[in-house]
């Protein structure tokens, strides 16, 4: 197997994740898309770790998993707060930071 196919897979998932982040209005959907991106990155890391026989890639992927979990936790807390205040999680309605 060549490394390229893993990397290409990773990039496909990454781009699909980007599409999801940009085109979904629901907060929870955006979080799911972010999960896609993070997983794509993980595949990339582990693939390179296998290529260069350096364990650091896997360790890094482990840390990414941990951080992703934390991030989802906090992110959902925020989404809940938004829901509590606005009774929906439509991200396009959150525009109070406009100039």
């Amino acid at each position: 197997m060549s490394i390229a196919q893993y990397l290409l897979l990773s990039s496909v998932l990454f781009c699909i994740g980007i599409y999801g982040v940009l085109s979904r209005k629901n907060g929870v959907m955006v979080l799911m898309s972010i999960e896609l991106i993070l997983n794509a990155v993980n595949i990339n890391l582990v693939a390179f770790s296998a290529l260069t026989d350096n364990i650091a890639g896997e360790v890094f992927a482990l840390f990414v998993i941990a951080i992703a979990a934390a991030e989802v936790g906090v992110g959902l807390a925020i989404v809940l707060l938004i829901f509590r205040n606005k009774q929906n999680v439509d991200l396009s309605e959150i525009d109070q930071m406009k100039g």
């Binding site: 197997m1 060549s2 490394i3 390229a4 196919q5 893993y6 990397l7 897979l9 990039s11 496909v12 998932l13 990454f14 781009c15 699909i16 994740g17 599409y19 999801g20 940009l22 085109s23 209005k25 629901n26 929870v28 799911m32 898309s33 999960e35 896609l36 997983n39 993980n42 595949i43 582990v46 770790s49 296998a50 290529l51 364990i55 650091a56 896997e58 360790v59 992927a61 482990l62 840390f63 998993i65 941990a66 951080i67 992703a68 979990a69 934390a70 991030e71 989802v72 936790g73 906090v74 959902l76 807390a77 989404v79 809940l80 707060l81 829901f83 929906n88 999680v89 439509d90 396009s92």
Partner: protein, 165 residues
Amino acid sequence: MIAQNVFFSIFALLMIVSALKVVTTKNIVHAALWLVLVLAGVAGQFLLLGAEFIGVTQILVYIGAVIVLLLFGVMLTKASIGDEENINMPNRVIPAVIATLMFAVMSYSIIDSFRGEKLPTETVTNAATVSDSIFSDFIIPFEAVSVLLLAALIGAVVIARKETA
């Protein structure tokens, strides 16, 4: 060699289709379930690459915890049963363009750089190796991540708690 390639292709196809479904379906619960498939596929890729511990951790953490958390979030934000109306942005062309562009750039650079590189045949790394590395070379990131998890825990609780009036 052949077997790995075959399995890789199967997993890859599964993942891509599921990912596409995640970002296009109108049913939010279905999106979460499609995400489960993606994550499982990722775990399978990990196992194919010989990263046993990471693969198992992926299943445990991501599918076991993150998805559950997301589903809780779906429930608490009163997602509607069946199709959700307000799930997509009105303009979906620009995101598509951006995504495609990004893919084009990345794939060009990947193919240009890593065209013929082959992975080594035996690439299995066991948990012992990973743990050795964590607790010797990466002890500080490990500690930092634990602090981060603590912070995230406290933060999530603080943000989401009910106001005690």
